[in-house]
Symmetry: C2
Subunit: 351 residues, 2 copies
């Protein structure tokens, strides 16, 4: 079987998890669900399947130091540093060039670094099914059975797999729907959430770039001879900076026929904002989800995260309360998804 | 006119304003309403009427250092240190002995150190009216026109003053009423809130102790020769510690006939808990009362006090949010009066 390379995509900004996340320390690098960061958890989770020398960490230049510090076990040449953010198509294309250099026959498993996975062993089984079903497909996407009419995710329309097969043929990708569409998708049974996790033959992926993103591919062709060479940072930066800002979904995945979907056998959440923490952690009997030093009295259905201090609540409900780095956030759970609005309202030195 | 001595009573514990107030730094010593502590504000307010050498600060031994630090302008021998807390009757009796020693003909103006006064000049005018109406009365109490059916204060039943007089004859004192009684008192027009501010001839006050609190008076008689002497701390402590724990209201005021009431001409609040802060400070157009570094978005009717850090709120209402000394409080405004319950629930090292 071809060698599998995991590409762990640890991009992102710091707004949705303010004040714990910051531009210097965005979501993948914060210990949202325990003592390890989401990035560290993602690397640990894949390790039984992919040896560390084939785990590539895709990060922005600003986060190189923190990523190295958090992942001392990952070989230094496995940190694929983007000179600047150019969305996921450029990110994955750049990593595909690195994999091609190491093994032109390799597979790429692209994994976001900042998602919640409920059961690591079921996760590995799901990925294994993906590997087994890649042959003959243009690529494999991992889908999540919808459990609510979520309007914050993209959906994937499939048809039922052939008897004896685990792979659902993909019909098409659907952008984030409105509430009534989301309800319809939930009830239909043929739709999945797009987890953002993909598996490709690296060679096929490069061909898909050539077909569907010729401009990006032409930039990649210029980058190809520079990969792994010394002293080419400036030139890489110049070429990479000229790549179009397009997501892999929009640029490649939605245009690709012959994709197969493997349904996730594990609880999953993209932890899009503070309010989603209660889906990834277990709320207590009063519905409170607590991390850190907290005392709650007559309080219910709150999400509380204390980094350094003690938080005490009395007679409150449905709040997100977070303390970190000299800042305190008190936010209605309903408004947590719009936290960017608050962060924009903060004085520059408070953000 | 007899010399007037102000006794500023700065006792109290730290529970109602947790986490800003603590047993080491109870309510009178914290800057609740601005940059000065309530005690400092009380001393400044009375100064135009009572020179500093006649301003006595009644404090517990634990708070001597902080009181001296906050009031460097007050002569050191004016800090009347109680060896332990024995409620307000013992406090005022002890101060009466000190005044007697300095001037047996003096007047005592007893003032709580931890109240809000809206207009310092109207306050002084009210006190002046008290002084003018003391002659011929057993004492003067200062009353507040009720503005709401408050169940947290004691009330004073009066009758209308004689034509041309400012003093309302006191009929009787009434303990904290239930809601329907409070409503009745509010509507009647003959009831005042008891502000806890009193004016007495010091000589008359000592006689009232002798009449109504003979046990306390007998202790005071033993303390009398020790006042202002060196090396008598242990003995003072022993005698003071044996005084009954009774409030001045219960022990003397409620039993005294011939009291006169002067209505306060100023906005007043006893600032009993965090929720009362919005009566003493001016809420903004959204009903928010803010002290310290705060950013509010889509938030209303909150009381927010930040000592050291930045508090940001989004989509919340009717909350008390306080940050101080490594603790964060988020409390429903409705429950702020019961904050002791939360403080009791905290781990000993969190309180």
């Amino acid at each position: 079987m071809p060698e599998i390379y995991a590409v762990i995509m640890a991009g992102g900004r710091g707004e949705r998890f303010w004040p714990l996340s910051t531009p210097e320390l965005p979501k993948p690098f914060i210990p949202l669900l325990g003592s390890s960061s989401l990035l560290q958890e993602t690397v640990s989770r894949i390790q039984p399947m992919v040896p560390l020398n084939r785990v590539l960490i895709s990060i922005g230049a600003d986060h190189y130091n923190v990523a190295r510090r958090q992942l001392p076990q990952v070989p230094s040449h496995n940190f694929i540093v983007e000179p600047m953010g150019r969305d996921t198509a450029a990110c994955i294309g750049f990593c595909a060039l690195h994999i091609e250099k190491r093994n032109p026959e390799g597979m790429m498993l692209a994994l976001p670094a900042d998602h919640y996975v409920g059961d690591a062993s079921a996760y590995l089984k799901t990925l294994q099914l993906g590997i087994e079903n890649l042959e003959g497909a243009s690529g494999v996407v991992f889908g999540i059975f919808p459990t609510r009419p979520e309007t914050g995710y993209g959906y994937i329309l499939t048809k039922k797999p052939a008897r004896g097969s685990d792979a659902w043929p993909v019909i098409r990708f659907i952008e984030k729907p409105n509430a009534s569409k989301a309800k319809e998708y939930l009830e239909s049974g043929d739709y999945f959430w797009n987890s953002g996790m993909f598996l490709w033959s690296n060679q096929t992926l490069l061909e898909l770039f050539q077909t569907h993103m010729p401009e990006t591919y032409s930039g990649m062709a210029k980058l190809r001879p520079l990969i792994g060479t010394q002293g080419s940072d400036t030139e890489i930066s110049r070429i990479f900076g000229a790549l179009p800002r397009i997501s892999i979904d929009y640029g490649i995945v939605e245009k690709t026929s012959g994709l197969r979907l493997i349904p996730a056998q594990f609880a999953w959440d993209d932890i899009g904002n503070w309010a989603s923490l209660e889906r990834a952690l277990s709320p207590d009997a009063s519905g409170n989800t607590i991390q850190g030093s907290c005392t709650l009295l007559e309080s219910n259905d709150c999400i509380i995260y204390s980094r350094d201090r003690t938080i005490a609540t009395f007679g409150v409900s449905n709040l997100v309360i977070v303390e970190a780095y000299g800042k305190v956030l008190v936010c209605s759970k309903d408004r947590a998804a719009d936290l960017k609005k608050l962060v924009s309202a903060l004085e520059p030195n408070e953000g």
